[in-house]
C-alpha cells in the first residue's frame, strides 16, 4: 500500500475509484483477491483486505459474508493466525515465517502455564455446547391464581415451538439436500448497489448522514439470498439474517422484519442502529477510501483537523461481532423470534459508554469510537478482545504527540515554537501509519508485558484496562472488575444518584454489587455479599436475581472458583425463594444442567444438589412440564443433559412419582428421540441412585424393555446400556425383574455388530452375576463364543466391554475353572496381554482387574506362570501392568501355590523390573513388598541377593535410585524379620545410619522410614546402631523443614520414646522436647499429631514435671496454632501420667494474669476432660471453683472455653453422682444463652446437652420452661434450641415432666391419663 503514500493522494484515490467502478461495470470482478495476490502498479487494485476484512463491499459475489455464522466452526479460526479470511499483506514474506512470528508472539506469556484456566478453556467441544443454549425467558407458573402474563409462555406454547423447530429443521435439511443435488436454484435478486459503488457521486456522499445507498429506499431493498440459511428463511420462516438486510439508517429499522433481528430485544438495537459499514468516511475522497486501522486519535492541529478517521473494520474490530458471548448470539437454528427476548436480560447497554470513560478523560479511543460507531464498544468484549483493544490503546497512547508542556519540560530554556512554512501538510497519511504499526493480531498474547509509565508521563499500564476504562466501581468498597466482568457489571462503574433510580434499578444495582463482591471479593466481602443476597432474596424477586446470575454462569471466562460461588448463590436463594422460582426453572436448568456432565466431580455434585433443590422448590408438575419439551429436542446435547437432570429430579422426589411419566415417554410414538431420552433417564437414575432402584426394578425394566425391539438402532443401544446400568445397580438381586428382557437381549447379541453389540454384551455381562449358578454357567458358555470372537476387535470401547463381561462371567459361581482354562485363557492372553493394552490407562485397569478375577477361579499359579516372564519385557508400562497383576493376585491368594521354579522366575523378574524402573510411582515397590511378604520364609534364600542389590543401589549416584532402595528396605523389613535375618538387618541399619547425612530431603525421609521399619521389627534392644547413638543423631534432623523428613523422623523418635526411652538420658529427651515444640507449627496434621503423642511418651518416660513446665511456658507464645497444640499436648500428658500429676501445676498456672495462658489452661482442661472421660469424677470437685471463676469472666472467649470444659466434664461424670457440682456449674453456664457469638451459643447448647445426659432431661427442662414462653424472642430462641434437643434426645422422659396446663373452654389441655390411680 505504500504507493498510496506517495504523490498526490487525492488524485490517486480518485483514479483508483474510477478504475474500480469501471472494472465493476465490466462484470469482471470475480478475480480472486487471494493471499499474495499483488496488485501491479497502476492497475486497478482491490481493497486492502486487511483493512476491510476479507470481503469488501465492492466485490459482490465472491467471499462477501452473507450471514453471521454462529456455529462454532466459524469462531474457531478467528484465533488462527491469518486474520482476515483472505488477507493481502503489504509485504509478502513467506507465509510460514509470518506464522512463526505469530506463534512466537502467541507463546509469549511466560505465565501462561501457571495461570488458572477458565472452565471454557479446558472444556471439550461437546461441553462447549452448553454455552450455545440460550437462557429461555420465564414461563407461566401454573400454580398461581392469576392471569398469567401474556408475554410468558406456558407448556402448550413451548411444545408448539418445539414442533415448529423440528419441522423447520426438517425443511431446512431437505432444502439443503435439494440445493446440493441441484434441484433448487439460488435466486439472485437484482443487484443492489452498495455504497462503495457510488464513488462517482463521492462529492455528495460527504458527511455521514448521506451514507444510505441512494437508490434503495429503506426497507424495500431486495435482500440477497444465498446459502442455506437464506433459502430456509425464504421457505419456512420469517427468519431474517441480520446481514441480509440492507444496511439502512434510522427509520429503516422499523421496516425490517420486526423482532427477527437477533439483537432486537436489547434496547440498543431498537434505537436506530448504524451499521459499521454504513458510513462512508468523510474524507474518503482525500485518502482514496483507504481508512487505516487505528487512526482514532488524530492530533489536534494542522489543516485537516476534522479528519477524524472512522472506526474501521480492522481485523480486531471485526472479531468483536462474531465473538460475542454465546448468551447473546444463539445459534441461528435455535433462535426463535420470541425467545430472543430472554437473551440479554437486564443489561441495557445504555450507559455503558459513559461508564467506560472516567470523568474528565479526553475522549480519545473509546469515547471517540463510541461517538462514531455505537455498536462496537457497547457489545461486551471477550477478554481477548479487551486485550487487543487495550493493546491498541496503548500503542496509540505511546505514540501520541508530545504536548507543549511536555516539550517544555524536556528542552532547556531558549527554544521557541516555529510556525510551519506555508503550504506544509503534515505527512500524516493514515496509510503510512498502517505500515508503521504492526498488525494487531500478530503480536497479541494474552496478558503480555506492559511497560509502566514514567512519572513524568503517565503510562497507561496502570490505569486499569487500557487506562481508558476504569475497573474500579464507584463504590470504593467493591472489588475491582476483571476485564471480562465489564459486560455484567459495567453499571457499577457509573456514578449515579441513588435517589433518581427507580426501585427496580436500585434493586438491580444492589444485586449487582452483591454479586460482584461474591465473585471478585475477599472472603469477608464474599461472605457479606452472600448473606445479603440470601436475606433479601424474596425482596429482590426471582427474576432480577436470576437475570443477573445466570448470564454470569454462562460466561466463557468463568473460572472454577467463580462458578462454585455462583452456584452457591443459586443454592442459597433457591432455598429462600421456594415456589417463586417456578417461572425460572428452565432458565436455571439451562445453566445448571451442563454441570451434570462436567469433568470435575465436585461440579457434578453441586449441579445435582441445585437441581434436586430446584425440584423440591418447584414441585414435580412444574419440573415435568418444564423439561418435557427438551426431551425430544433436536440437539443431542440438550437431550443428554435433560436426561441426567431428570434422573436427579427422580432421586429428589422419589422414583414412583416419575414412573407414569417415564412410561409415557418411553412409549412415545411420535419421536424416537423421546424414547431414547426416556430410556436414558432410567439409565441415569440407575447410575445415580444405585441399589435404591431395587423396589421399582420391575416397573423400570417394564418401561424400557420395549426399546430393545425399537426400529431405531440408537434406542436399542441405549436400552441395552440402560439394562446394564439397572443390573449393575441391583447386583446381586432382582434377576426376576429382568426375565422378560433376557430373550431379546439374547437375540440381540446374535443380531448386532459393532456398537450395538457392545451395548448388548454389556447388558448380558451385568446380568450374568445376578443369575443362579446353573443359568449363569449356560449363559456364559453361550456368550463366550461371541466374546472370544470379539477379543480381536480393534474397537477400544468394545475391548473394555469385553474385558468387563469376561470378568463378570468368570466371577460367577456356575462358571467352572476347567472351562475357563481351556476355552478362554488361550485366546484371552493372546488378544489382551500385549504392550498396547498397557498404554491406555483404562484398558490397563480393566485388564488387571479381569486377570485377577480369572486368577481367583483358575488359581494364581496358572496366571502368574503365563505372565511372569513379561516382568522382563522391554516396555516399562507393560512391566508395571504385569507387576500390578501379580501383586494383586498374590495379595488376594497368597503365594502358597507357587512352586520353586516359579518362585525363582518371580524373584528374578522382580529384581529386574525393580532395577530397571525409571518412573516414580509405588507400583514396583508395592509389588516387591507384597510378593516378598507373600513368600514369607521362602524368601530367605533370596534375601542376601535382594539386600546386595539394595546396598549397591543405596550407593547410587542418582537420588531417585537411593530413595527407591531405602523405600524397599521399609517394605521388606517385616519379611526379613520373619526369615530371622537379623544380622542382615543390623547391617542394613548401620548402613542407613551412615547415610543419615543425605542431602536430598526426599531420600533422607525414605532412609528414616527404612530405619523406622527396621527399628520396629527388630526391637529397641537389638537395634544396631544402638538407640543411644541413633537418637542424638536424630535430634538435629528434627529441625529439617521438609515434611517427609519431619514426619518420618518424628515417627521414629516417637517409637523410640514409646518403647526404648530408657536407652537415652533425660537430658536428651528434654532437648527433643524443645525441638518438638517447633514441630507443632507444622502444616501437616499428622506431624503435629505425632509430635503431640511423642510429648506423651516422653512425659511417661521422664516424668511429667519437666515436660509440663516446658509446655506451660509455651502457652505464652503468640501463635494460636502453637498454643492450641500445646494445650492438646498438656492434655495428653495429663492422660498418660494420670491427671493428679498434672492438674495442680496447670491449675496453679491459671493464676498467671495473662489471658492467653488462662485460656490455654482452660482449653487444656477441656481437652483433658475429653480424653480422661470417667476419670474426671475424681477431679470434678477440685476444678469446680476454677471453672466457676472462669464462667464469671468478662471475656467471652474465656467463658466459651470454660463452657466447653464443663460440657466435656459433664459427659465424663455421667452416672457417678456428681449432680450437685453439675447443677452448680449449670447455674453459671445458663446465663450465657443471651450471648451473640454463635461459637459461644454452640458451646452453650453443647453444655446443656451434656447436662441433659448427666443431670437428666427433666432438670434441664425445668430450666427451659422458665424461658420458653418469655416475651422476648431473644430469650425464647436459644432456649427452644435446647428444648428441641431434649425432645430429640429424651422425648419419652419428658412426658412425666411437662407442666399441667388447665383446660380452656374450647380445648382440653390436661392429660388425664396421668391422673389414673389404682
Amino acid at each position: 500500500m505504500s504507493r498510496a503514500g506517495r504523490g498526490n493522494t487525492e488524485a490517486y484515490a480518485q483514479e483508483l475509484n474510477r478504475k474500480r467502478a469501471a472494472l465493476r461495470n465490466d462484470e469482471e470482478e470475480d478475480q480472486p483477491v487471494g493471499n499474495g495476490n499483488k496488485a501491479a502498479f497502476g492497475v486497478g487494485g482491490s481493497y486492502d483486505t486487511d483493512v476491510y476484512g476479507g470481503s469488501t463491499r465492492g466485490n459482490r459475489n465472491d467471499n462477501y459474508l452473507e450471514s453471521i455464522g454462529t456455529g462454532e466452526e466459524d469462531d474457531v479460526d478467528e484465533d488462527s493466525v491469518p486474520t482476515g479470511p483472505k488477507k493481502t499483506s503489504d509485504f509478502n514474506a513467506p507465509h510460514k515465517f509470518i506464522q512463526e512470528v505469530a506463534n512466537m508472539a502467541e507463546n509469549e506469556d511466560p505465565f501462561a502455564e501457571t495461570r488458572t484456566k477458565t472452565i471454557a478453556e479446558r472444556q471439550s467441544k461437546y461441553h462447549e455446547r452448553a454455552r450455545q443454549r440460550q437462557i429461555s425467558p420465564e414461563r407461566i407458573d401454573a400454580f398461581v391464581d392469576q392471569t398469567p402474563d401474556m408475554r410468558n409462555r406456558g407448556y402448550a406454547e413451548i411444545m408448539k415451538e418445539q414442533r415448529y423447530q423440528e419441522e423447520r429443521g426438517k425443511v431446512e435439511r431437505e432444502l439443503a439436500d435439494r440445493a446440493k443435488s441441484g434441484d433448487l436454484q439460488v435466486s439472485q435478486p437484482d443487484k443492489k448497489k452498495g455504497r462503495w459503488d457510488d464513488s462517482a457521486k463521492k462529492e455528495e456522499a460527504l458527511g455521514a448522514g448521506s451514507a444510505t445507498p441512494s437508490q434503495t429506499t429503506a426497507g424495500s431493498a431486495p435482500r440477497k439470498r444465498l446459502g442455506v440459511t437464506s433459502i430456509s428463511a425464504d421457505a419456512a420462516t420469517p427468519h431474517v439474517n441480520r446481514w441480509d438486510e440492507t444496511p439502512v439508517h434510522g427509520s429503516g429499522v422499523a421496516d425490517a422484519t420486526p423482532s427477527a433481528d437477533r439483537w432486537a430485544s436489547t434496547p440498543a438495537a431498537m434505537t436506530p442502529r448504524r451499521n459499521r459499514w454504513d458510513e462512508t468516511p468523510k474524507d474518503s475522497v482525500r485518502d482514496g477510501g483507504m481508512t487505516p486501522g487505528w487512526g482514532m486519535e488524530t492530533p489536534a492541529h494542522g489543516a485537516h483537523d476534522d479528519v477524524k478517521v472512522e472506526d474501521t473494520p480492522s481485523a480486531s474490530k471485526r472479531r468483536s461481532r462474531w465473538d460475542l458471548t454465546p448468551s447473546q448470539t444463539p445459534a441461528p437454528g435455535s433462535a426463535t423470534p420470541l425467545q430472543a427476548g430472554g437473551q440479554t436480560p437486564s443489561f441495557t447497554p445504555s450507559g455503558a459508554m459513559g461508564a467506560m470513560t472516567p470523568g474528565g478523560a479526553t475522549p480519545i479511543g473509546t469515547a471517540a469510537m463510541s461517538m462514531k460507531t455505537p455498536a462496537v464498544p457497547i457489545i461486551p468484549m471477550t477478554p481477548e478482545q479487551m486485550q487487543i483493544y487495550r493493546w491498541e490503546k496503548e500503542i496509540d497512547d505511546r505514540n501520541r504527540p508530545l504536548s507543549d508542556e511536555e516539550l517544555d519540560s524536556l528542552f532547556p530554556p531558549g527554544y521557541k515554537v516555529l510556525v510551519p512554512p506555508i503550504g506544509y501538510i503534515p505527512a500524516r497519511t493514515p496509510s503510512r501509519k498502517l505500515l508503521a504499526t504492526p498488525t494487531p493480531m500478530g503480536g497479541m498474547g494474552m496478558g503480555g508485558f506492559h511497560m509502566p509509565g514514567t512519572p513524568e508521563r503517565d503510562g497507561i499500564g496502570e490505569k486499569g484496562v487500557g487506562g481508558i476504562i476504569d475497573t474500579q466501581p464507584k463504590n470504593a468498597e467493591l472489588p475491582p472488575l476483571k476485564p471480562d466482568d465489564m459486560q455484567y457489571f459495567d453499571k457499577l462503574l457509573m456514578d449515579v444518584d441513588e435517589s433518581t433510580l427507580t426501585k427496580e434499578e436500585k434493586n438491580e444495582r444492589e444485586i449487582m454489587e452483591h454479586l460482584l463482591k461474591i465473585k471478585n471479593g475477599t472472603p469477608p466481602m464474599r461472605k457479606n455479599g452472600l448473606r445479603k443476597i440470601t436475606e433479601n432474596a424474596r425482596k429482590y424477586g426471582a427474576g432480577p436475581l436470576f437475570n443477573q446470575i445466570l448470564p454470569l454462569l454462562m460466561s466463557p471466562s468463568l473460572e472454577d472458583q467463580e462458578r462454585h460461588l455462583m452456584v452457591k448463590v443459586i443454592d442459597r436463594i433457591l432455598y429462600k425463594l421456594d415456589d417463586l422460582v417456578r417461572p425460572y426453572v428452565h432458565k436455571i436448568l439451562v445453566v445448571i444442567e451442563p454441570l451434570l456432565i462436567d469433568e470435575d466431580y465436585y461440579a457434578r455434585v453441586e449441579g445435582r444438589e441445585i437441581i434436586s433443590n430446584l425440584a423440591k422448590a418447584a414441585g414435580l408438575a412444574t419440573m415435568i412440564s418444564t423439561m418435557r419439551p427438551d426431551i425430544d429436542n433436536v440437539d443431542e446435547y440438550v437431550r443428554n443433559t435433560t436426561a441426567r437432570a431428570f434422573a436427579v429430579v427422580a432421586s429428589a422426589l422419589g422414583i414412583p412419582a416419575l414412573l407414569p411419566f417415564l412410561k409415557a415417554v418411553c412409549k412415545s410414538k411420535k419421536s424416537w428421540q423421546a424414547r431414547h431420552t426416556g430410556i436414558k433417564i432410567v439409565q441415569q437414575m440407575a447410575i445415580l441412585m444405585g441399589c435404591a432402584v431395587l423396589p421399582h426394578l420391575k416397573s423400570l425394566v417394564e418401561i424400557v424393555e420395549g426399546g430393545l425391539d425399537d426400529e431405531q438402532q440408537k434406542v436399542r443401544t441405549i436400552t441395552a446400556l440402560c439394562l446394564a446400568a439397572l443390573a449393575e445397580a441391583s447386583t446381586p438381586y432382582g434377576i426376576e425383574a429382568f426375565d422378560s428382557v433376557l430373550k431379546p437381549l439374547w437375540k440381540g447379541i446374535r443380531m448386532h455388530r459393532g456398537k450395538g453389540l457392545a451395548a448388548f454384551l454389556k447388558a448380558i455381562g451385568y446380568l450374568i452375576p445376578l443369575m443362579d449358578a446353573a443359568y449363569a454357567s449356560s449363559y456364559t458358555r453361550e456368550v463366550m463364543l461371541i466374546l472370544i470372537r470379539e477379543f480381536v476387535s480393534p474397537d477400544e470401547e468394545m475391548k473394555k466391554i469385553v474385558l468387563k463381561v469376561v470378568k463378570q462371567c468368570c466371577g460367577t459361581d456356575g462358571v467352572e475353572a476347567p472351562y475357563i482354562r481351556d476355552e478362554i485363557l488361550p485366546s484371552f492372553f493372546k488378544a489382551f496381554w500385549n504392550q498396547r493394552m498397557a498404554m491406555d490407562r483404562r484398558n490397563y485397569r480393566q485388564l488387571v482387574d479381569t486377570t485377577v478375577e480369572i486368577a481367583q477361579k483358575v488359581g494364581s499359579v496358572e496366571m502368574i506362570a503365563r505372565i511372569v516372564d513379561d516382568l522382563k519385557d522391554e516396555n516399562e508400562q507393560y512391566r508395571k501392568m504385569v507387576m500390578e497383576t501379580i501383586e494383586n493376585i498374590v495379595a488376594l491368594q497368597g503365594a502358597t501355590e507357587i512352586d520353586a521354579r516359579l518362585e525363582e522366575q518371580l524373584i528374578d523378574g522382580l529384581l529386574y523390573a525393580f532395577q530397571e524402573q525409571t518412573q516414580e510411582d509405588s507400583v514396583m515397590l508395592d509389588g516387591f513388598g507384597t510378593i516378598c511378604t507373600g513368600l514369607g520364609r521362602r524368601a530367605k534364600a533370596y534375601l542376601p541377593q535382594i539386600c546386595g542389590t539394595i546396598l549397591w543401589r543405596l550407593n547410587n549416584k542418582s537420588a531417585k535410585v537411593r530413595q527407591q532402595a531405602a523405600d524397599l528396605i521399609s517394605r521388606i523389613a517385616p519379611v526379613m524379620h520373619m526369615c530371622e535375618e537379623e544380622k542382615l538387618m543390623g547391617h542394613l541399619g548401620l548402613v542407613l545410619y551412615e547415610y543419615l547425612g543425605e542431602e536430598y530431603p526426599e531420600v533422607l525421609g525414605s532412609i528414616l522410614g527404612a530405619l523406622k521399619a527396621i527399628c520396629n521389627v527388630i526391637g529397641m534392644t537389638k537395634m544396631t546402631p544402638p538407640i543411644k547413638d541413633l537418637l542424638p543423631r536424630l535430634t538435629p534432623i528434627l529441625k529439617n523443614r521438609h515434611e517427609k523428613v519431619q514426619e518420618n523422623c518424628i515417627d521414629l523418635v516417637g517409637a523410640i520414646a514409646d518403647r526404648g526411652s530408657e536407652f537415652v538420658s533425660a537430658r536428651e529427651w528434654m532437648r527433643i522436647c524443645f525441638e518438638l515444640l517447633e514441630l507443632l507449627k507444622a502444616h501437616k496434621k499428622s506431624i503435629r499429631r505425632a509430635a503431640i503423642n511423642t510429648f506423651g511418651y516422653i512425659a511417661k518416660a521422664i516424668g511429667p514435671h519437666d515436660v509440663l513446665a516446658t509446655l506451660l511456658n509455651n502457652l505464652k507464645v503468640q501463635e494460636r496454632q502453637l498454643r492450641v497444640c500445646t494445650t492438646v499436648a498438656i492434655a495428653i500428658v495429663a492422660e498418660t501420667c494420670a491427671p493428679f500429676t498434672v492438674l495442680p501445676a496447670i491449675m496453679n498456672e491459671y493464676r498467671v494474669p495473662e489471658i492467653n495462658v488462662q485460656n490455654g489452661v482452660l482449653k487444656a482442661l477441656s481437652f483433658m476432660f475429653e480424653y480422661i472421660g470417667e476419670m474426671a469424677k475424681d477431679y470434678i470437685y477440685a476444678v469446680t471453683p476454677l471453672l466457676i471463676d472462669a464462667l464469671m469472666e468478662r471475656d467471652q472467649v474465656h467463658r466459651q472455653i470454660a463452657i466447653d470444659a464443663v460440657a466435656h466434664l459433664s459427659l465424663g461424670v455421667y452416672g457417678f453422682g456428681c449432680e450437685d457440682a453439675l447443677m452448680h456449674l449449670l447455674n453459671y453456664v445458663w446465663p450465657n444463652m443471651l450471648e451473640n457469638s454463635p461459637h459461644l451459643i454452640q458451646r452453650w447448647v453443647f453444655a446443656c446437652e451434656g447436662m441433659r445426659v448427666s443431670l437428666g432431661p427433666l432438670k434441664v427442662m425445668q430450666y427451659c420452661l422458665q424461658a420458653l414462653w418469655h416475651p422476648a424472642r431473644k430469650v425464647r430462641e436459644p432456649v427452644w434450641k435446647v428444648f428441641n434437643n431434649l425432645i430429640l434426645g429424651s422425648a419419652d422422659a419428658l412426658v412425666a415432666g411437662y407442666p399441667r396446663i388447665e383446660n380452656t373452654d374450647k380445648n382440653e389441655y390436661i392429660r388425664y391419663e396421668l391422673d389414673y390411680t389404682l
Binding site: 440470601t534 420458653l1268 380445648n1307 389414673y1316
Partner: protein, 91 residues
C-alpha cells in the same frame, strides 16, 4: 432466626436438623401446638411402654389392645380444634 450471620453454620444446621422431626418447636410456636405435641408424646409413650399400657388398660377396664387403639385414636386432635387465628398472630 438469631443473628443474621449464623444462618449457615453449625447452629443453623442444628436448627434445620431439629426442624425435620415432629414434636420439636420454635420461638413462634403457640400454646396449642405445643400442647398437642405433648399429648401425642404422652400417648405414644404410654402405648409403647407395656407397663404403662397395662396400667391404663386396668384403670379403663379395657383390653390392652383396645387401650392401645384408644390411645392411638386420641392422638387425632388430642386437645380439640386449634384456636382461631387472630390478626395479631401474623404480626
Amino acid at each position: 432466626m438469631a443473628a443474621p450471620g449464623e444462618r449457615f453454620h453449625v447452629l443453623a444446621q442444628l436448627e434445620h436438623l431439629q426442624s425435620k422431626y415432629t414434636g420439636t418447636g420454635h420461638a413462634d410456636l403457640n400454646r396449642h401446638e405445643w400442647l398437642v405435641n405433648q399429648h401425642r408424646d404422652t400417648r405414644a409413650s404410654q402405648m409403647s411402654h407395656p407397663g404403662a399400657n397395662s396400667f391404663i388398660a386396668i384403670v379403663e377396664n379395657e383390653s390392652r389392645a383396645r387401650t392401645r387403639f384408644n390411645l392411638l385414636n386420641r392422638m387425632i386432635l388430642p386437645c380439640g380444634p386449634p384456636p382461631e387465628k387472630s390478626a395479631l398472630d401474623d404480626l
